[in-house]
């Protein structure tokens, strides 16, 4: 009787140990894999110029309900200028940043803002609420 319960206890203990070891191994694997795959970030302190926020300007033409280029990709913190032109008059709405501007044919409309929120923000025709393209703000 006594022996049996000791035995069961031992088996239970080894199960707990096995489980703990497995969990530890999996955790080590997960962390290791993370650092192995993560793209090389700059070592602390010395940021390269490419990591600093930049000023970026893009010419964006709107034709037949689509932007060209259809996506504009910047990095968080960048000072962004979008110079918009369109064949037909429309009201452009940049989601998230909630900027609205009228674009008239033959004129250049400038949208200028600091890209302080990361994410993917659609740029839509305000009248029809259809997407013309998107602004992608990559996190730093």
């Amino acid at each position: 009787m006594f022996e049996q319960s000791r035995l069961a206890e031992g088996a239970g203990k080894s199960l707990v140990n096995r489980t703990l070891m497995m969990v530890a191994l999996v955790m080590i694997g997960l962390v290791g894999l993370f650092f192995a795959l993560r793209p090389g970030t700059t070592t602390s302190g010395t940021a390269t110029p490419a990591d600093e926020p930049q000023e970026r300007a893009y010419d964006v033409a709107i034709e037949n309900g689509a932007m060209s280029p259809v996506e504009v990709s910047v990095e968080e913190g960048d000072q962004v200028t979008l110079r918009l032109t369109s064949g037909s008059p429309l009201e452009v709405h940049l989601h998230g940043y909630d900027l609205e501007e009228e674009v008239l044919p033959g004129e250049e409309t400038v949208l200028s803002f600091e890209a302080e929120i990361s994410g993917r923000f659609e740029i839509e025709d305000h009248e029809t609420e259809t997407a013309l393209g998107a602004l992608l703000v990559q996190p730093r």
Partner: protein
């Protein structure tokens, strides 16, 4: 049932079936960036790596398996005095029900009479973001409030009470015998319609269509409750009760009845199968207060309970899984290419995807049966039943990863809609000028949390399927072997979830039909005085 079919047909006929492919999505626009490649690869690697944890937990050890009752830790919240007072308070329940019926009425009113602009109307944001996404999360992560607040159920009960009080008769139910073989197939059909409306129907953000659909669905639901009885229809045909009931299996709370006789007499025979009665709201309603328990339990354990799956139940789960995947798939370049190459309408994609998922599921279950060597003894159908709930964490994980930012950001819209539900320029609570804060969570945090959610959902799924196998095969070795194909299937599902999240989002270029852009001018501005 014939009546239900006629009504379903009526719902469909009331919709313009000329749905054209557009980007107009019922849920508004998410601000998520696609996962970067390295994080996608990490997620895939992590998925495979963590798959070994459940196997090592369950594969070895001294677990008896077999037909032993499934146990998990639970704690009865009703045992705590003050909590019991609050949780069983009649006033609180009435308050919740009034709130629910009030919100339901507001959706109908703002849909029919409000401005037909999705961004200025209460109905679209409330229905698609706050209720469909937000309430669903609440059910999965806290508990199933739906049986308490379901406006269709509440209104039916109130009408019945009125009928009795006026002595017009003994309730409304005709109690026709519900064909047992029909199972939850009516809910399957309705869920398919719902997913179509959500993802394909261009009018899904239009307040008027939301109200029309809600009204049609009300007629159908009350019809079903009248013909077959309220409880039967809620369990089999009321698609949201079936759906939230599925999510509630994941929830960390359960409603339990400790009265065997009552449960055996239940119209569902709920207590007969396992000897206990959990989340059967019919029994819970009828039980004496001292026989009721409201238990806290670990997440996901409810999915491993050995309960009989009704006919259509397996397909329902697969449909939920395929539905959430379809939603994301529609925005991928692959989908866009496929459509360009085959000029396939999105509806066809929605028709094909669930059977494809179903076939994949059955094939892997078949493999599991062969690997487990239980061919002579175990029927394929019973294996399919046992494993199917283990897929639920994968569906929930994907749904949360895909939508939680939408809930956090677009959900804020409801703050200003509450002050001006009809878009008439009201400011009832002084919040009409509330501006949405789009930067609550940064994109990097969103990425990491998405991968974490999906990997955790995967571990739970693998664990649950393994538990099911142990119970069914009753032998550790056989169970372990049987799990190799299931593991492959789950890795496949999980990596596709990650893949969808990593795909660049495609902006469809087709124009929205003019009806959507410019609603009927008579609907646009109802002649109502401005207030405030």
């Amino acid at each position: 049932m014939r009546r239900a079919f006629v009504l379903t047909l009526a719902v469909l006929l009331l919709l313009p079936l000329t749905a054209s492919p557009t980007f107009a999505h019922g849920l508004g626009v998410s601000y998520d960036l696609p996962l970067p490649l390295w994080l996608y690869l990490y997620g895939a690697g992590a998925t495979v790596l963590v798959s070994f944890a459940p196997i090592s937990l369950l594969g070895g050890g001294r677990r008896a398996g077999g037909e032993a009752a499934y146990r998990y830790p639970r704690f009865d919240l009703l045992r705590i005095g003050p909590l019991r007072v609050v949780l069983t308070s009649k006033a609180l329940l009435l308050g919740l029900r009034l709130l629910s019926v009030g919100l339901f009425s507001l959706v109908l009113l703002s849909g029919f009479f409000g401005r037909q602009v999705p961004a200025s109307n209460f109905a679209p944001t409330f229905v698609w973001v706050v209720w469909w996404v937000g309430f669903g999360f609440f059910v999965a992560f806290v508990g199933n409030l739906w049986p308490l607040v379901n406006p269709w159920k509440v209104l039916f009960e109130w009408t019945e009470a009125l009928v009795r009080r006026l002595r017009l008769g003994d309730g409304l139910e005709l109690r026709e015998t519900y064909p047992a073989a029909l199972g939850v197939w009516p809910a399957v059909a309705l869920y398919a319609v719902f997913v179509w409306v959500e993802n394909v129907f261009w009018g899904s953000p239009t307040p008027l269509y939301i109200a029309v659909l809600a009204l049609n669905y009300s007629v159908l639901t009350w019809g079903g409750m009248t013909v077959y009885g309220k409880e039967v229809w809620l369990r089999r045909g009321e698609v949201f009760s079936v759906f939230f009931g599925l999510l509630a299996r994941f929830a960390p709370t359960e409603a339990r009845v400790e009265d065997r006789r009552l449960c055996r007499a239940c119209s569902d025979g709920c207590g007969a199968a396992q000897g206990d009665c959990v989340n059967c709201y019919e029994c819970f309603d009828k039980a004496a207060p001292e026989d009721r328990e409201l238990n806290l339990r670990p997440w996901a354990v409810g999915l491993a309970r050995a309960e009989p799956v009704p006919p259509g139940g397996v397909f329902f789960v697969i449909l939920v899984l395929a539905g959430v995947a379809f939603d994301g798939l529609m925005e991928t370049p692959l989908w866009s290419e496929l459509r360009r190459a085959t000029s396939m309408p999105p509806t066809l994609g929605l028709v094909l995807l669930p059977p494809l998922f179903f076939a994949a599921y059955l094939s892997f279950v078949k493999l599991s049966q062969l690997f487990g060597g239980g061919k002579g003894r175990l029927r394929l159908a019973s294996l399919a039943d046992v494993y199917v709930y283990s897929l639920v964490p994968i569906a929930i994980a994907y749904q949360v990863a895909h939508y939680y930012t939408l809930l956090l950001v677009q959900g804020q819209e409801v703050v200003h809609h509450l002050s001006d539900p009809f878009g008439w320029g009201w400011d009832l609570f002084g919040t009409a000028r509330y501006e949405v804060n789009p930067g609550l969570v940064g994109a990097a945090f969103v990425w990491y949390s998405q991968v974490a959610l999906i990997v955790v959902g995967h571990v739970l799924a693998v664990y649950l399927a393994h538990l099911g196998a142990l119970r069914l095969f009753g032998d550790r070795r056989k169970a372990l072997r049987s799990q190799l194909p299931m593991l492959a299937l789950m890795v496949l599902y999980t990596i596709s979830s990650l893949w969808i999240l990593s795909q660049p989002i495609i902006v469809e270029e087709e124009a929205v039909p003019t009806e959507n852009a410019q609603p009927d001018p008579t609907l646009r501005e109802p002649p109502m005085p401005d207030v405030g």
